[in-house]
């Protein structure tokens, strides 16, 4: 029987699939491959190093989502910096970091911005609010990524043929289903926008298999209760007001054109990169680390010589193991 490669782009899907043991229920020949949709995994080490250096400054309160706390850089992680006395605070929402800036006018409050289209509009809205409140001590590291340039890269890959994409449900709440059409049409690959419950994922996979056997390459919404064709235009407008697309480096994948965000000039006073001139060493994947290939689905974690031997969740070498939803972490924990 012909092998079918389905890729779940989103790290949250990778984890949901691993935790439910779903792979065992799939028909033989259907292969689920993890993609690079894990903000922690693909944030370049230079961004981590920059954040850590800024965090160590006496006049800075570094605020971050919990996901980024343990990601190791050249000189440790944000958690390491906190242990050494840096003021690093985990926040649930970027608005919490804004409140922190208001409460501490004598300090510079920096927010480590990571995430895809689900998250970046929330930070854009926070920056706009910061302007409204005339805050001069609030800054953001704009480490965001955009989904579709990466999706194009994966769909167009010559090394690995993806027969169907399980598309990220919550990114699609913002983007809507329309942008997937270009990828589906150009590369003749079905895309099903899927939710995160077990039932959603199984439905999403079955819809993909149905399309594949019918030779179709359409964009379908499985996650109908939250995703619409047009998505959330207000969120996209706010994102566009504060940020513009820019070339961006993805850890393990290298540079992808127009796949990241930069501050627009009008909001550049909030750019941490501008406010803090910090030099960081050039990074490369450690010797033997296969994350680059794993993130694109060419290899699986078990192919990596470092996997479980030198690279474990307590001592992660590459980003795929650091992140709670990295492909390697998923296989390590759940087999």
């Amino acid at each position: 029987m012909k092998k079918i490669n389905l890729m779940e782009v989103c790290g949250t899907h990778t984890m949901a699939i691993a935790r439910s043991g779903l792979k065992k229920l799939l028909p033989k020949g259907v292969e689920l491959i993890s993609g690079p949709g894990c903000p922690v995994c693909v944030t370049p080490q230079e961004d981590i190093d920059r954040a850590v250096k800024i965090a160590r400054r006496e006049d800075v309160i570094m605020t971050t989502f919990g996901d980024m706390m343990r990601v190791p850089g050249a000189s440790g992680s944000l958690e390491d910096a906190a242990r050494d006395g840096a003021d690093v605070r985990v926040v649930f929402s970027p608005m919490d970091s804004l409140e922190t800036a208001e409460k501490h006018p004598g300090k510079k409050v920096v927010f480590m911005g990571v995430g895809f289209e689900t998250t970046s509009p929330t930070v854009a809205a926070t920056v706009i609010e910061a302007r409204k409140r005339k805050l001069k001590n609030y800054f953001v590291i704009p480490g965001f990524k955009l989904l579709f340039p990466a999706l194009e890269l994966l769909a167009g890959s010559e090394k690995l043929k993806i027969d169907g994409f399980i598309c990220p449900g919550h990114v699609s709440v913002i983007t809507g289903s329309v942008p997937y059409r270009e990828v589906a049409d150009r590369y003749r690959v079905p895309c099903v926008i899927t939710g995160f419950e077990d039932a959603d994922i199984l439905k999403g996979i079955s819809r993909l298999l149905r399309q594949i056997s019918a030779g179709k390459s359409e964009v379908e919404i499985e996650y109908r209760r939250a995703v619409t064709e047009k998505g959330n235009p207000r969120a996209r407008r706010l994102l566009d007001e504060v940020f513009r697309p820019a070339d961006s480096a993805w850890r393990g994948l290298g540079n992808i054109r127009s796949s990241g965000l930069r501050f627009r000039k009008e909001y550049s006073s909030f750019d941490a990169g501008k406010a803090f001139k910090v030099k960081v060493p050039r990074a490369s994947l450690p010797k033997g680390c296969l994350c680059g290939d794993v993130l694109q689905g060419y290899r699986s974690p078990k192919d990596c010589k470092l996997f479980t031997k030198k690279c474990t969740p307590e001592n992660p070498i590459g980003p795929c193991m650091v992140s709670s939803e990295g492909a390697c972490a998923a296989v390590y924990k759940y087999g």
Partner: protein, 74 residues
């Protein structure tokens, strides 16, 4: 790449809302979602409502999830 949880809007105050996740409440921002009113169901990510949840579709999926569990349990 994202955790988002459904919640019911208990009250709206300009650009913020008090929402109930089912025994857990919090103030969240409506900064990126328009047209939210009391009684709506929204998806919350990073303290922001990112989109509305369709009650009908939610019930359909809840039913599908239950059916699925029943199938596998039998």
């Amino acid at each position: 790449m994202c955790l988002a949880a459904p919640a019911r809007v208990k009250s709206v105050d300009k650009d913020a809302a008090e929402v109930d996740f089912g025994g857990v409440s919090r103030k969240i921002s409506l900064g990126i979602l328009s047209g939210v009113k009391e009684g709506d169901h929204v998806l919350v990510h990073a303290g922001f409502a990112i989109g509305k949840v369709s009650r009908q579709e939610a019930e359909d999926t809840a039913r599908a999830l239950k059916e699925l569990k029943d199938v596998f349990r039998s």
